[in-house]
Symmetry: D2
Subunit: 332 residues, 4 copies
């Protein structure tokens, strides 16, 4: 339930307002030198307090507790790490502690467990994704050393597409409106050799879909041309094979187009794997919201707290991390 | 790899032109009476030879080998079943045995395994999904007895939406053009109580996404308003909670709208779970296709054989089956 | 539950008196040529009707349904197989259908599932182990091709140790007494390189112990000197390392003794892995037994049917098979 | 590999001389009040510095980081905890850092991973078992609240059986001899209802065997009469069923004897589950030992450091913990 992967397995734990969040990475190959600056950069990308994100400050740098030599070489044993929670201001939520916010997981956690941590989303908080970025950054480094590069970028905010600048202007506009907005993150995995993935239930695209849908606020995922492919005729989307004679080493079989997004029959073709993830707008907005108390009364109130107007902004490094974790797990 | 689920687990085996396909359902609750007519109806829905599907005839009725009493009660032990392959005409494919068809898994299976069963798609053939429909039909019955109903329907063929009649006319049109076409299947799971699913990596929507993406030719999946939600502001998609006082028994917490598709934080809300799956056009069409031989030569030729012009038509019962298998696994 | 292994996974199904038993081997390496004569020899070793075993005749040769080319090469896809049940004489058991036999699983299956297949032990019958021998014989061949050899032999029957002839005489003596007797099977895995196995919970010895204890009637397992090691001082059981300079290739680190049975810290040392498994006497004997009816009445009656006087005899190939399955799973 | 269990899953991490060891307990039922005094007692039982154990002092009390309300109620989310390493004196080992000690995992870890943490056994150190005792103590409490009690006790040290006092005298004698000694721990699980466990590969005894064999220095495990049962005739070990009419509530089916140790066909009978675990003598003793350097030279030297003369002493709470974790996992 709180574990991702089969060969390289990330188990995460932690509530947003408890003592700490953390994770255990099991099965990571031994003898790999971790670049902690690389990790810090990835952590910085999802850190709150950036433009377009919440004001909550977090250093968010993990403390590694095991699995590494003093020199930063992986031992092959589980890599445990924690990130202490600070600046949590749990009093912010005290007043609404017994109410279910719409579009949030308050009610469903209560329905499942019979009790819940009211403080700031608890386990359902996006803060959990910091642990995914830690593990993903390690996986990404390992993959990079093998020629597999993973990129992710925000390509749409609401109905706006365009440059990062243009998208962030829309986020700012939404913030000033005390509202939130959805967005789309695209991801490309290049350098992946042909033959990665499994047939039937363990298809690479199925695993990527699960990985992406496990990110908070994700509502849709597509591979290659995705939903658009459903509108096309077969003759329009033929990814014709050819031999790339310029390619001196490695796999020279390529396709002239890549409608299928680098996956056929659940297994990589050697072309870039492309995918898109849709994120819903942040549930909590600056305007008053309809709430339901645990006793069954509805009321309208403004929910205090600092919230990103667009979760998709900070989801970019999480999409990248989940892609890295999926690929390292499939490749090993 | 060839197993789906954790508590109720389906393992399938079989190539399209080998002796048989089959499966093992492990963890199915004991003491449940199987309705074999119900099963036969589901099998009929995915059987080739219907309007809009291939001409290959299959009885496709499974022979159950274990896990049932002579009276058809489940024993709690694994339910093994096989479906013999008949009328396979593997000679159809002989000529193209060493060529990679575009948009098919021929090349990727070869890249992964070093060898492959050339006959009719082998393990990558959609014939494998017959086993999913067998297991799904058992799961669906069990769920129905607990008030959980699963519906699936074709809602789009290419760019055409409308009645089943209208959609099938488009399929027929495409067939006469010797082409194929994509489509969209929608699925609704109703009667599911609140609290089903897991947080973080085991989110109900993540599992459903993996289940759907594991179906042959699936290229996209979305929950609730899905990709459209990415284009909206938070204030536009609030699923307001209320107490349904007419609901005398069970869960009376409902939402006035269902943009989230019955899942919040990865856990069911008690509202219907809604999802949509995009299928690409059938790779093989009646027109000549560009092929690549295993020796690296490209050539153009018409691929013989019987092919559905629209895989989405026969995917409907498979979507339903995978939804049923996902839900029974999450609910137990 | 009915699946063994993580990388090479065997799932079995089938009751002793249902239509068939069978299994699915998933994850077996592609491109390996199966030697069916080898398989037939292993099947013959556990077949009833040998000296010291029951009179029930079974051909017990599996029909392979998938995962192999017509030439017997593995495809890398799941290998499904079935063995039809014949000569089952389920009427033998009719009279005692509603009674719990002592030392048998009749009562516990009923307690777990609420119902059970009364015919001949159902799923709890040792007939299920035929499927293990099928899969084990494939694994053993693959291991042999990599220099790993697995041997198993009966070394004790009751209190008798000695030659096979002497042990079988004791079995015959017990049969004439209308009684049954326990026994011990030893197993040696040689040629295993150092470094196989996992630390902590996935220790090679832990996996072997689970594998052996999952065999019907197994009551104890030990690695290396096992229980005797508990009686010794540290200075008496030091496996001193040395470099074997005669060993020109491969691993030249060896130990002068092998009290630890080829495993240290859960990981293979490169020395032979040795283990012993204790089997209890066959529960059913030719003499009258105390029975308990499902209604709670105790009575004494002779249980008809054909029974091995010593299950350990036919357990030999099963021990070998489970060792092979454990090792291939750990080595891949 | 570093995870135990399927429904309640413990993942541990940490080297003996790194910053900390710790674990994550996933799937623990929600709403259970933890008794921290109970936990502290269990931790005290395996703490070094007791009579018969090493002199290394450890508080060994875990810091809980997640999964609990401030009041100590389980949230149903993963329970993360860490135990900082103090007083590690890693310089003790510096001199022997590049040598393989006999009967230790030094060499096998190096063979598996290519590098290892030389400091004090690293991941292979028995210190890891502290995390098992934390998780086991939580499981044990939960089981106790449901009437399932788990006891473990040392019953043999070397060839000595008898009272705890007598056994500890033997341990002391061995210590004065600068030697170490093996031992046997027995465990009884009482109050377990009939019907717990799975057939075939997931037998309760198979899981218990794997759990026990995963403990450092364990070399053998047996259920019920175990190896002695192999020496008996069937007529001597019949566990006759009867109805216990004094038992007003719950399960009244009992057996007059319990040779099978509370398990038949891998499923609990309702009688106490009994098992015995053999531990080898502590590998490191106070006398000089033959060592092998990484460069292949053998030499004899006294290995410094503090070592228990009998690991079985501190294994008692670990056996109990592993039994509790196995049972909670099987019962849920």
């Amino acid at each position: 339930m709180n574990t991702f992967g089969e060969r390289v397995r990330l188990t995460t734990f932690g509530e947003s307002h408890g003592p700490a969040i953390g994770g255990v990475i099991d099965g990571f190959p031994a003898g790999f030198k971790i670049d902690f600056d690389f990790l810090a950069r990835r952590m910085a990308e999802r850190r709150p307090g950036q433009r377009g994100t919440t004001q909550r400050r977090e250093d968010d740098l993990p403390e590694f507790l095991s699995g590494l030599t003093p020199e930063g070489l992986t031992l092959g044993t589980p890599i445990g790490f924690i990130i202490r929670n600070k600046d949590t201001r749990s009093q912010d939520y005290g007043k609404l502690a017994t109410a279910y916010r719409p579009n949030h997981a308050d009610y469903t956690y209560r329905a499942k467990y019979g009790l819940r941590d009211h403080r700031g989303g608890g386990r359902a908080s996006a803060r959990e994704t910091a642990c995914r970025v830690v593990a993903g950054a390690l996986a990404e480094q390992w993959l990079l050393a093998r020629g597999v590069a993973i990129e992710a970028r925000l390509t749409q905010v609401g109905t706006i597409r365009g440059s990062h600048e243009k998208l962030m202007e829309e986020v700012e506009r939404v913030r000033l409106d005390l509202d939130s907005v959805g967005g789309i993150v695209e991801c490309t995995i290049s350098g992946l050799p042909a033959g990665v993935g499994d047939p039937v239930f363990g298809k690479l695209n199925a695993r990527l879909a699960a990985a992406m849908m496990s990110i908070n606020a994700a509502k849709g995922v597509e591979i290659g041309d995705g939903f658009e492919m459903a509108t096309k005729r077969g003759s329009e989307v033929i990814d014709e094979f050819y031999i790339d004679s310029d390619n001196e080493s490695g796999n020279s079989v390529k396709t002239r187009t890549n409608h299928n997004g680098g996956v056929l029959g659940g297994i990589s073709t050697g072309m870039p794997v492309t995918l898109r993830v849709a994120f819903k707008p942040t549930p909590t907005i600056g305007k008053p919201l309809p709430l339901l108390s645990e006793e069954g009364e509805t009321f309208i109130e403004t929910v205090p707290g600092r919230h990103d107007p667009c979760v998709a902004v900070r989801a970019v490094p999480v999409v990248r991390a989940m892609a890295a974790l999926t690929v390292i797990d499939s490749i090993l």
